[in-house]
């Protein structure tokens, strides 16, 4: 895509915080709400003589993510120390992976504006998080609850060309790790963090421009905006004949702009070397086979199946597969009623609307797939009309009762018996003798009036098909 005759090159590093019960290298708890420095121990505080021990669950989660990203899993990957001084880095080094990461050479696909894009994954490596510094004017307070939290850093190739692609890449990574249930994907709480590398070059060029890193953007909407701003800023600089500094910038969501944090001159020499306290991480074929067999169907594959096997429109399929729980909900619903399109419609319009209004997750829905499936089944069987079904749905949402109960309690069963309908029609016709005469005299437009009157008299419960049929015959006279 062209931006004023320039092309943008975007690569993204995503830090995914793995949803393990304990930290990467010690037994400290990982829950978010703990009080300051509560989730710490001699190991995470970096006290003398303490040693790291690898969390096996973190390795499992990392391998699963690597597999879902189509990566090769290294049989012997190595933890390395990244040395630098900072008050919230207790040991004076971060345990990470350097030249021998766990996962390499993967790729993921997703749709942007209906077009499928494939982005390469250069590597994904395990590391521990640092603590948090809270600067407040005269002093800085350090909270080490986050120190040692398990992270998987996923590095893309420089394959994205537009802000929309960058944001969609991020969303896809989030979707995948949530499908795998290895990360809660919460950007605001910091359990997922995005750094974007952006450069620009003249259209048609193959030589990348100087890249600028934008750090810690906490929503995908901001990823899109930050990248967009940065592309513009860089093109302006080039157009003015100025040099682009290799630097790290931060996104200011209030001012809608990026600003410089540090330049390359401040770049540190991290003096990486293999951590002698840890053995290489050994991964066997059996482990890989086991973890692969445990992988869920991934979002894009699932969406494609919903299109091909269920006949859903692509749009529906993409919305339904955006969250694993939502796709699971849809599949469970359609399994009950065996009506794919109706299941999709009900979920996408009624259910999602209610959930949005109530600010609830699909897992918190008072209506279960079983309940919704039965409701759709009742429509298909002709037991209730679509219109009544909406009333039943509303009651189910409020009360959490199943559709059978709601229909019974409110006496909402559709009247499909021709005799019963005929009785109501007879009453309506008797009460509107003038209109009957007009109809029979040629004003056939009045048919709608009679249908409405009958439906009203039946409190909406008369089966419209039966009403139409019987009414036509009756009016013939």
């Amino acid at each position: 895509m062209s931006f004023r005759g320039y092309e943008a090159v975007i690569g993204i590093e995503v830090h995914v915080q793995l949803k393990t019960a304990s930290k990467m290298f010690c037994a400290d708890a990982t829950e978010f709400e703990a009080g300051d420095n509560e989730n710490t121990s001699p190991v995470s505080v970096g006290m003398p003589g303490t040693l790291p021990v690898v969390n096996k669950k973190a390795i499992e989660f990392s391998i699963k993510t690597g597999l879902a990203l189509g990566c090769e899993i290294r049989k012997k990957s190595v933890f390395a120390r990244k040395n630098y001084f900072y008050p919230d880095l207790p040991k004076g080094y971060q345990i990470s992976q350097f030249d021998l990461p766990l996962c390499e050479n993967g790729k993921i696909s997703f749709k942007v504006d209906g077009v499928e894009k494939t982005i390469s994954i250069t590597r994904a490596h395990m590391e521990e998080d640092a603590g948090k510094s809270n600067h407040s004017g005269e002093y800085t307070l350090i909270n080490l609850n986050r120190a040692g939290m398990p992270l998987l850093e996923i590095v893309s190739g420089p394959d994205m060309r537009t802000p929309a692609e960058a944001a969609e890449y991020g969303r896809t990574i989030r979707q995948i790790v949530r499908y795998l249930d290895v990360c809660d994907g919460n950007l605001e709480e910091g359990s997922m963090r995005c750094d974007c590398n952006v450069s620009v070059m003249k259209e048609g060029s193959t030589k990348f421009g100087t890249k600028v890193e934008i750090k810690n953007i906490n929503s995908f909407r901001f990823v899109e905006k930050a990248v967009e701003f940065e592309i513009d800023r860089q093109i302006d600089l080039v157009e003015r004949g100025e040099k682009i500094l290799q630097e790290t910038r931060l996104w200011d969501p209030d001012k809608n702009k990026t600003f410089s944090m540090r330049t390359k001159e401040d770049a540190q020499d991290y003096r990486y070397f293999p951590d002698p306290d840890l053995l290489p991480v050994t991964v066997t074929d059996a482990m890989i086979a086991k973890f692969r067999s445990e992988l869920p169907e991934l979002p894009l594959a699932r969406a494609k199946r919903f299109v091909s096997a269920h006949g859903l429109p692509e749009y529906d399929a993409l919305v339904l597969t955006s969250e694993k729980e939502l796709a699971d909900f849809y599949e469970a619903t359609t399994k009950v009623c065996n009506n794919h399109k109706a299941s999709s419609n009900w979920i996408m319009t009624e259910l999602l609307r209610e959930l949005n209004q109530a600010n609830k997750e699909i897992s918190q829905s008072p209506i279960t797939p079983e309940m919704l499936g039965r409701l759709i089944g009742f429509i298909d069987e002709g037991k209730i009309s679509g219109k009544i079904a909406k009333a039943v749905f509303a009651e189910m949402w409020v009360s959490g009762k199943d559709p059978d109960t709601v229909i019974k309690e409110k006496n909402l069963v559709q009247i499909s018996d021709a005799g019963a309908v005929e009785k109501i029609i007879d009453e309506v016709l008797a009460a509107n003798a003038q209109q009957v005469a007009d109809y029979r005299g040629g004003r056939t437009k009045l048919f709608g009036f009679f249908v409405g009157a009958v439906m009203k008299a039946s409190k909406g419960q008369a089966n419209p098909d039966v009403v139409n049929k019987v009414l036509l015959e009756k009016l013939k006279g």
């Binding site: 001699p42 021990v53 040395n83 004076g92 002093y139 070397f273 306290d277 053995l279």
Partner: protein, 490 residues
Amino acid sequence: MDLTHASMVEIAQAVRSKKVSAKEVANHYKHRIEKLDKQLNSFITVNDQAETEAAKIDEKIARGEDPGPLAGVPFGVKDMFCTRGLKTTAASRILGGFVPPYDATVVARLKQAGIVVMGKLNLDEFAMGSSNETSAFGAVKNPWNLDCVPGGSSGGSAAAQAARLVAGTVGTDTGGSIRQPASFCGIVGVKPTYGRVSRYGIVAYASSLDQAGPMVSTVQDAALTLELISGRDERDSTTAEKKVPAFSKDLSTNVKGMKIGVLKEYMAGGLHPDVEKTVQKAMENLKSMGAELVEVSAPLTEHAVPIYYLIATSEASSNLARYDGVRFGHRADFGNLSAVELDQFYSRSRGEGFGDEVKRRIMLGTYCLSSGYYDAYYSKACQVRRLIRDQFDDVFKKCDVVLSPVSTHPAFKTGERISDPLAMYLNDIYTVSTNLAGLPGMSVPFGLSKERLPIGVQLTAGHYEEQKMLNVAAALEAVSPVKGEKPHVI
């Protein structure tokens, strides 16, 4: 009972059979420390709770509970081991008044076995030194001659043990820090196979080389202590899953048919005549006891000292980064912190906290790991290390145990070498290869110089073959020409 000269095993037996109470033993040694350590400076911290803790062992015995195989044995712990509730310094100002909330695994296992911790023993700062002169708490004196160094870095352990201020000690050995001071002070010191003993809770110097081991008076005591501290520790990933042999029960002085390797490169010259004589005498004795002497060779050991100093300082530069004045330990006094730049905070706190030798090694290691130098120094050193290990694997295909000197010379005078770091580093010439190759090694007393300074011989075995090495040591101990010799301080 002669409590002062009894072995650990004898003291434990006496305590267990109620011939003497643990409290009496602790009291006896406490008085020895009070009386003699002013001359030696082997203690940094004396545990004022020792007698109370000993009394608890007596209570346990009174209740009929098993007090452990080392019941009531008064122990000294090198101040590199963290001790719960007892100040731990690594002989550095940087740790300030750090009191660990945990025991090192070695200490926890020994406490479980019934020892009474009498206190924390002096050492070279962060175990960086070969003379115990770099301690922030002053140099340690050799009990055989107060003008001489006790060796290092576990100089306090060696001196306290030789002077019998304790009945047993544990030290750490990164490049010879157990064996060389054991030799200089005439005691038995064992560095186990890397991976045999947990490093958890031991202040790290060079993680891939550090191992803890006993520094005691007899081979039997060494075997028993080693047995008790060895074995897999879930808190140290580098400990081996290997089963721990019953070293003390299986100890034997029978060396008939054993192949004793004599490493050509270690006998090549430059040896002090008394050291050479001592090793020759050990060779003759082993031969007469039925062992077979074979000449072996590991030519790459020539490069061991520089390789060691590249790897050890690289790891140390990273291991010591945590001493930054932020969470514990020494912080420079800035008065109002709000005006202090972060760089200044670090450089002053660390500048004040670390001694010269530690700073020298941090700088060396930082340089080795820097981009542009990594390949030429750290990476190359690791490759050569691998080759040294391979050469030793070949050596141990030809023999069971290698016999060699520990050091080129007996203890030297305090102050004689401290201003010449390179001469000091060469002290480690016969000991560092053992650490680089991850092998077990030990020093056993076998001679005295003309000046009545102890000389040990070094025994080295293949990986996890400590038993062979201990057996040869036991055989040598049985015929040792210096048996019963005592330092003049006693």
